[in-house]
């Protein structure tokens, strides 16, 4: 791959590195419902009400292609309902939306998935009485043996089955499930099921992956590697849209954040910008949300912030074990190990 000689040619070259592509995502200002340079999903006037309550009322939304978009918002904001609507698992009261330019409003969910828009579920759905490997194989597309007319003849589908198994093995290894591949999925823990579901959705080789709370219940040690996997999906040319409450994850991997509240899109923009938006902080994030307690620097930062805060006991005689001296000393001891 040759480096483009000058920046103005960058747009024309086919070989864009999606990991480092830093061109602006939106056209113009980052306002709710703004147009994107290269949208993969365009939704217009999508509404869904459940008995008088407008669960979803999205006037205009574009999801940028080859980017990781986070959909955040308080509980009941309509994030999952929007997922269901976009993927054909629920029917809206009104609205139209396009995926890669083709209208998919009213298209049944399995056709949406075949077009390359694959989702996972908030309440994990794995096939408990199938093995992990069978779960993975089930995800694969273009298996001729899934047609009844071919099913009896292993000669027709055996070759593809080997390819699928190889693909599944690679994914299972990435998601640290390779040791479990012959176990029944029902024997997996909640977090492992999340991983399996995500890995299975990747078996479809989707263009857009929609993850509903991918990190819920996954242990912190695995979170980091999972974050890397999600980031790498971009390098493989996929687009990711995910719902998540873990703000660190959103900050680490999202290129774009869409904030929903009471069914509407209330803010959009790059994570840094959106998280400084006072409306978003008030409605959802709360103060001190931008401190990552997962690393030592974050804790020191929070201690400093709390010390300055009059309402906090940190910095007074009552601080006890949460006093800065104690916490920082502990951290340094751990670092020393």
């Amino acid at each position: 791959m040759t480096e483009p000689r000058d920046d103005s040619h960058d747009v024309k070259t086919e070989e864009i590195n999606y990991m480092t592509d830093s061109r602006p995502i939106a056209i113009g200002e980052n306002l709710p419902g703004c147009k994107k340079r290269d949208p993969i999903v365009v939704a217009e006037n999508v509404t869904r009400s459940f008995g008088g309550i407008n669960a979803v009322d999205v006037e205009y939304l574009e999801i940028p292609r080859h980017k990781i978009t986070a959909l955040i918002g308080p509980n009941g904001a309509g994030k999952t309902t929007l997922f269901n609507l976009l993927t054909g698992f629920d029917t809206p009261n009104s609205g139209e939306w396009k995926f890669e330019g083709s209208n998919i409003a009213g298209v049944s969910s399995y056709k949406v998935a075949r077009m390359g828009m694959v989702r996972t579920f908030q309440l994990t759905k794995v096939m408990g009485k199938l093995t992990v490997m069978e779960n993975m194989r089930l995800g694969a597309a273009n298996q001729p043996g899934e047609r009844l007319s071919n099913a009896l003849f292993k000669g027709i589908w055996g070759g593809r089955e080997k390819e699928i198994t190889a693909q599944a093995n690679i994914l299972l290894e990435k998601f640290k499930l390779d040791a479990k591949k012959d176990d029944y999925a029902a024997s997996l823990s909640g977090g492992q099921r999340k991983l399996l579901e995500m890995a299975r959705s990747l078996m479809v080789r989707p263009k857009l992956v929609m993850l509903d709370e991918p990190m819920a219940g996954v242990n912190p040690a695995l979170t980091q590697s999972l974050l890397d996997h999600i980031k790498n999906l971009k390098a493989e040319g996929m687009t990711v849209l995910f719902v998540e409450h873990d703000m660190n994850m959103v900050r680490h991997i999202a290129d774009w954040v869409v904030v929903m509240a009471e069914g509407r899109i209330v803010a959009e923009g790059p994570p840094g910008e959106v998280m400084k938006n006072p409306a978003v902080i008030d409605a959802y994030l709360g103060a001190h949300h931008d401190v990552d307690l997962g690393d030592a620097e974050g804790i020191k930062e929070l201690e400093a912030e709390l010390e300055a805060d009059e309402e906090s006991i940190v910095g007074t005689e009552n601080a006890g074990i949460i006093a800065p001296e104690v916490v920082v000393a502990n951290l340094e001891e751990e670092d020393g190990k």
Binding site: A113, R114, A151
Partner: protein, 322 residues
């Protein structure tokens, strides 16, 4: 009591054509419920479709045997299609309600007096098996203690069971079968992976229905008669008993289940009759004993569900009720 007779008659049930018919129909239920999660409580209806489809086309339209067979199969596919259209998009319970009702509707239709010309009403139809037995390659004589006619129907019935079991086994190990098992677990998940769940469920309903229709034919051929009273709801539940006895998501389970069912029925009957005749049991008449054996089958099923819920062959990890 003549234990030799008791055991030989019980052993005779092992390979009787009726057992073969039960095995086939229960195999159909295994395709429906065991592999696809479709609650079909109208398998007796599918059997009736097979039996009547064959008998009516033979008697009224005078078609040759294999055309009659084809008509019976096509009718059962059509029956499955009609039942599936409204119900397969809904939850499993709706299919259960619709199938149990349609099996009864079918039974009442063939019992209608206005249709006596076609269906023979409550008396049913008879004398349609000539074509079949004229194909008998075995000359008259004794084969393993049976006449050539009994032997022929057993060969055909069990041959069909073997062929169908092989086909079902081949289907269920294929990617097609994998999608079905996925649907049994969670159809929305399968849908989210781009599979047309509705069409798979319809295919499974049809295949199980065809097995039911074939079973209906094997059931009526040795009797030489079809009667609506044979296809009541209790037949469906006997088939479910066979399925649960053997194990649901297995190929051999329904076959062994049907064998166990009939052997237990035969053994209990002979033993009870023997006890009554020898005077050891005085508080029971032979009529009551006939009823009691079904009670005993029910008790056996309950014990099995408690102590071995996966059935004889089932895999405990694949328990459908877990």
């Amino acid at each position: 009591m003549d234990f030799g007779f008791i055991f030989s008659s019980a052993a005779g049930e092992l390979f009787s054509p009726t057992t073969a018919a039960y095995a086939l129909a229960a195999l159909g239920l295994a395709v429906h419920f065991g592999y696809s999660g479709l609650l079909n409580f109208g398998q007796a209806g599918f059997m009736a479709v097979g039996a009547y489809g064959f008998a009516i086309s033979t008697l009224t339209f005078k078609v040759p045997f294999f055309v009659g067979l084809l008509i019976a199969v096509i009718c059962s596919v059509a029956f499955a299609f009609v039942l599936g259209i409204p119900t397969l998009r809904l939850r499993a319970d709706y299919l259960a309600i619709v199938t149990i009702a349609s099996a009864e509707i079918l039974r009442y239709i063939v019992t209608t007096n206005q249709l006596t010309g076609f269906t023979g009403s409550a008396n049913g139809l008879a004398a349609f098996e000539g074509d079949f037995f004229s194909m008998n390659p075995f000359p008259p004589g004794t084969y393993a203690g049976m006449n050539n006619r009994d032997f022929f129907i057993r060969i055909v019935g069990w041959g069909l069971v073997v062929v169908c079991c092989t086909l079902v086994w081949l289907l269920m190990r294929s990617p097609w079968g994998r999608v079905l098992k996925g649907i049994r677990e969670d159809e929305n998940a399968v849908r989210s992976l781009g599979k047309n769940v509705y069409s798979y469920k319809m295919q499974a309903l049809m295949i199980g229905g065809v097995l039911g229709a074939l079973s209906g034919m094997i059931f009526t051929l040795p009797r030489g008669a079809v009667q609506p009273s044979n296809y009541g709801t209790e037949l469906t539940f006997f088939l479910w008993t066979c399925l649960l006895l053997g194990g649901m998501a297995t190929v051999l389970g329904p076959v062994i289940g049907a064998m166990i069912f009939w052997v237990v029925l035969s053994l209990t009957q002979s033993l009870l009759y023997g006890l009554i005749e020898s005077g050891a049991v005085t508080w029971l008449t032979t009529v009551q004993a006939g009823q009691l054996r079904y009670i005993l089958v029910g008790v056996a099923l309950m014990l099995l569900m408690i102590f071995r819920p996966q059935g004889v062959f089932g895999n405990k990890k694949e328990l459908a009720f877990a």
